[in-house]
């Protein structure tokens, strides 16, 4: 039994192809371009190619992510079901870390805190409002201002020991704040750290609204950024686990739902 989970995010499409509801056969991801539907199909194609499968050989597909409706009931992906991100996140994380009680998912545009129930469902959740200041796009925007690659932002931040307060209420305002820090000759390392501290502060305040219970897991693309974990740990005063391929956890959750559907047929 082969199933797939498709996570059409704000910035990336992530796909997981699963065998018998447990073995991951393939993972693939790619940037979401203007034609979201085509982007999703391209990534799906890539995933199939990785394992030498054809679409017909894949059974149920479940989609999640903010663009999930674009592939709902629409071939070739033709996802028969769609689930909200928080539900897919909880499912995927619980599968990887059965002791998880709190999931923090920081993607490109959204930050989410999820309280996970005993059986991997969602007890409560919180999502940032409108502004991407507490999410990955913010780091990308700031990386441009600092003229460094986004992959270097985390390592750069780790080099700084200074704490410069920054008010990350809004991407646009924060960028002008960064510009004024640049003008006052603050080092790139310090600015990079200030940016990560600010986002961690935002995410922590948000997640604390639903309460933080151990074990705590961090997923989403920003979990790959080594500069984000230390300030988040400090703000929440707890250990935080990061699963392998943190960006694919939502897609994995969707694939697990697909397997359950397949099993019920």
């Amino acid at each position: 039994m082969i199933t797939a989970g498709v996570d059409v995010g704000a910035k990336y499409v992530k796909i997981v192809i699963l065998e018998d509801g447990k073995n991951v056969l393939a993972r693939a991801n790619g940037i979401v371009e203007f034609d979201v539907w085509k982007s999703a199909n391209d990534v799906f194609e890539k995933a199939l190619l990785n394992v030498g499968l054809k679409r017909e050989q894949v059974g149920q597909v479940v989609a999640t992510g903010m663009g999930r409706k674009i592939v709902h009931m629409k071939p070739p992906i033709d996802a028969k079901e769609i689930v909200p991100e928080v539900i897919a996140d909880a499912k995927g994380t619980y599968y990887l870390i059965p002791t998880v009680k709190t999931v923090i998912d920081v993607g490109a545009e959204e930050g989410r805190g999820i309280k996970v129930s005993e059986n991997g469902g969602v007890r409560d959740f919180v999502i940032n409002e409108r502004c991407a200041a507490g999410a990955g796009t913010f780091i990308e925007t700031m990386a441009r201002a600092l003229e460094v690659g986004v992959e270097n932002m985390g390592p750069l931040a780790l080099k700084s020991m200074n704490a410069i307060p920054m008010n990350a209420q809004c991407c646009v305002f924060a960028e002008s704040e960064v510009v004024s820090l640049i003008h006052s000759k603050v080092s790139k390392e310090d600015i990079a750290k200030a940016i990560h501290d600010a986002i961690a502060g935002r995410i922590a305040s948000m997640v604390l609204r639903i309460g933080v219970e151990k074990d705590v897991a961090l997923i989403g693309g920003v979990a790959r950024n080594p500069g984000f974990l230390p300030p988040l740990k400090k703000e929440l005063n707890t250990e935080i686990l990061i699963p392998e391929y943190p960006e694919c956890v939502g897609a994995l959750g969707a694939a697990l739902f697909a397997s359950e559907m397949e099993g019920q047929k």
Binding site: P165, M166, Q169, S176, E177, S180
Partner: protein, 373 residues
Amino acid sequence: MESLKLIRTLISANNKFISEWKRLKRPVLGYTCSYTPEEIISAGEILPIRILGSLEPPKLADVHVSTNVCSFAKSCFNNALKGEYSSLDGYVFSHSCDNQKKIYDLWRRYTTIPKAYFINTPHSTNENSRRFFRDELEKFREWLMKSFKVEISEENLRSTIRTFNENRRLLRQVYDLRKGNPPLVLGSEALEIVLSSMMTPKEEHNKLLQVLLEEIDTREDVPKEGVRLLVSGSIMDNSELLRLIESVGGSVVADDLCTGSRYFWDLVNEEEEPMTAITERYLHKIPSSFMYSSEERFRHTREMAKLFDVEGVLIFSLKFCDVHSFDAPLLAEELREEDGLPVLCLEWDHSLSGTAQLRTRIEAFIEMLEEQI
């Protein structure tokens, strides 16, 4: 100047006078609004101190309140959550703006300070309001006496009023030092002096002010001349913004601030029955922005501008402050059209972030004024 240095250390809920007060096992009561009749509190040997915020990001408060809540109310709440006010025996909120009124509920739920009281301050000054406010203050007095097991007699009230009025007269003398050119006290210093008055037993503060007024005559580091400015707005609980203005050539010689002139400008009538006199003073004091009508406050702002011979006005609104956001354009128009004064309206969020952008605009405003003068 030694007295100024000391004064700066007093702007804290843990200053030496408050510690000494606590050591004598006397109660300390925090308050959030300049409409709180401190005389009634003080007459019961209870020390009233003003609850202030700080410039750090309010992370603990952000857990409970949304981003568009007044940053000052949020910052005070954050300080309380941090334990900054854990030595208080109680706190009293006044029905000022909606943000303060609603955040009172959060204080009661999430802080551990034992006693809490809410004064239903009226928002207009007619005869009905006067009767109502008089009753409210009488109830407040009874609450204080019962909760803290103290006596608040008419005699105590009378002597407290005298001490408070003395403080107000001395503060006016400090303000008078800014009428000349150059002013003998910086705007940032004057603000710190007023803030320290809110955090110190008034008898002690009166002594400090007397020393300060003597020391000022022989002051060596007399402030430089600059463009004479009035700063108008709601609350300013630290001198950073005024320092910023001073650093780019502005000389803040007058204000219309809740933590500035509006705190002490009006005296209590010493001839009248004390509770009536207190009611009158607080009801008819220079109004805050939440009071009806705004014109009354504008009149004071314009009077201050004339009295201190200012050349321009800076109006600061705190981000998400409804009442001041409504007032600012009206006040700006009056100042421009009636008094021919240039005005700059600015918004800030009670933090040090974004100061570079503020500086650019204040700098441009001051340069513009320098060219005109």
